[in-house]
Symmetry: C2
Subunit: 345 residues, 2 copies
DNA sequence: ATGGCGTCCGTAAACGTTTACGATTTCAAC
DNA sequence: GTTGAAATCGTAAACGTTTACGGACGCCAT
């Protein structure tokens, strides 16, 4: 069922059929009608390879998601809504969105190289940005439109959107300081992912803004799952003076942290303050409920899509041209886990 | 950088270049060497559209994942490892795997129709199988190779793999009966997804095997997240005689269930027995740790991939031909949540 | 009658591959 | 020296589209 069959069936040339289906102007209204009718009747759908080959564009966008240890456990609840938002925009432009999950045993750079080499996608959304991400250089050089979810420290002209980890860290620190805490720990991802650095930056800045010195011993690197939270709690317990508060970069860590503290007879929200990230169904049902930060993930996805479209030649007209560099705000959702005031010592 | 450029650069014909790269036999070893070298040097990667058009095959497989309410919250931790397993097999055959996430506001049937119409993939893995899944009929009719993760009740010749929910339900029921429980509740997904039916089937069968009558009032439909677990607990509490045990089909529900019971002053693992599904990092760090069932998700993915390959003409030689209909076993992992014995009343 | 213009449609080239087929060379065997 | 087979390579067609170009036709103004 190719366009040739359709043309034969209608007794017109394939050129006219193509023009009719693609909404070109130089085709009779009645002819167009007949073409559309016959196409629906015979179930004709244009072959993607054919049109890709001709017009050098695939009409698909790739969303590259890491399936690393860090994201494996909470990846779904984070990426699914983002993906939804992205997709809702692309659907309006007849663009298909596919998720590219790079396996843990494959180098992301090599994987990406294969993808762009094959001309598999017209554009890319990249997540889990590293500090010096080789993928960015590759895409810039190959001139593939892309947008990153997460800042990098690589220069160049490309849009990015990042969560406001610095703001989150600052808000959390200020809140805890106001509650009287002075020794505030943070649990950050142990990997090279950029958010860790930014998080620590915000933490440091907020402390110094309040005239508190930075103690490197209060920064606990750990993996971003329950196991990591458990280890952070263990590390806190083994300090000679246990910190009275802790900020986590991942809400799954909170479960492990809670567990460890319960084992030690310490009640989060009563004996130690916990602020987590990110708000989810989970955070509302933990005991105590977790004070954390809310993101509108769907809106984030929509913005990502728009940022990408604004760099794609075929769509640049519809979207503002100024390159997007956006720090995505988050809103604190108070829970029960940090409701304790300290006497300033 | 097309094959033509590469051929010009080497002063040989494009046919020879193609044959060299594709490992055909009628090409000189030294020539092949030169071709590979030049390809690597110039960064040549064959254009996918071109080869797809010519050989009618795209070398990509689609993994269709629902982003429905049910799977949104725990979808990541479930699908990522499966995906990894699938990918590890396909990589060996030069097949690219893409995840197709059907948006909640889009009909899965229509979405699939577009995908197969465009000849976007050579084969498909379908998850979240419905009882009467229209996608299966479509794929059978179009003769697209596919495998489903989850049984359907549609006949026909296609491979499927499903988790052994019946076995899980039976094991859980038997275990709880041995602990002396007689009123065992279950929380099952409220949607039309097939696993719910199978789960209830296993539950019923295990009860009747032990001569216990089936009480429909002990089946609590709910969504598969924390909210759902909370509601199940509420419903249990409002019974005139509260069930002494509960089986959950989703481990995220356990968190909500725990929460609701704590609010009511009831301790899971002491006052009420809980068995959940599926084992995860989470289940080991809850308090009490959750008795649940373990799956080897990566192996499941590998088996899915092999099942699909066995139905694809290009690979049928390498894989056994007998159609695969597999019930995937799961292993009970005892936790603290069901360690309580009842005096038989 | 001629020219010009607008509408509609057919023709054919092009996109980048793969592959059937035939051409050329080499080499051994008769 | 002729033949045949094997090895190696070039040629060209084909896959299904889109699109630049030009042709046919009708209409109106000159």
């Amino acid at each position: 069922m190719s366009i040739r069959d359709l043309a034969r069936h209608l007794n017109i040339s394939i050129g006219t059929v193509s023009r009719a289906l693609n909404g070109k102007s130089d085709v009779n209204a009645e002819t167009r009608e007949r073409v559309f009718l016959a196409a629906k009747e015979l179930g004709y759908v244009p072959n993607q390879s054919g049109r890709s080959l001709r017009q050098g564009t695939t009409n698909t966008i790739g969303f590259m998601i890491e399936s690393s240890i860090e994201t494996a456990d909470n990846g779904g609840s984070f990426f699914m809504p983002v993906f939804e938002g992205v997709q809702s925009v692309f659907r309006r432009h007849q663009l298909d969105l596919v998720a590219l999950l790079c396996g843990t045993d494959e180098d992301p750079g090599a994987y990406l190289n294969r993808i762009v080499g094959r001309r598999f996608v017209d554009g890319l959304i990249i997540s889990a940005t590293m500090r010096n991400d080789p993928r960015i250089a590759l895409l810039l050089e190959r001139k593939i439109p892309f947008v990153t979810l997460g800042r990098s420290n690589i220069g160049g002209q490309y849009p990015w959107i990042d969560l406001d980890f610095e703001g989150v860290a600052a808000t959390a620190v200020t809140r805890l300081l106001n509650f009287g805490h002075r020794e505030i720990a943070i649990g950050v991802p142990a990997s090279d992912i950029n958010l860790g650095y930014i998080f620590v930056e915000g933490y440091k800045r907020a402390l110094s803004d309040h005239g508190i010195g930075f103690d490197p011993g209060l920064v606990f690197p750990a993996s971003g799952n329950e196991e990591g939270g458990y280890q952070v709690a263990s590390a806190m317990l083994s300090q000679k003076r246990m910190p009275t508060a802790v900020i986590l970069v991942n809400e799954n860590m909170a479960i492990g942290l809670y567990r460890r503290f319960y084992e030690a007879g310490i009640h989060p929200g009563r004996d130690v303050a916990v602020i987590g990230f990110r708000e989810s169904t989970q955070s509302r049902f933990l005991s105590p409920t977790l004070t954390c930060f809310r993101i509108s993930l769907r809106d984030l996805g929509i913005k990502l899509a728009e940022a990408l479209l604004s760099t794609m030649p075929a769509f640049m007209g519809n979207y503002p041209q100024d390159s997007i560099e956006l720090v995505w705000p988050m809103e604190l959702v108070p829970g029960e886990s940090d409701h304790l005031c300290m006497e300033p010592s």
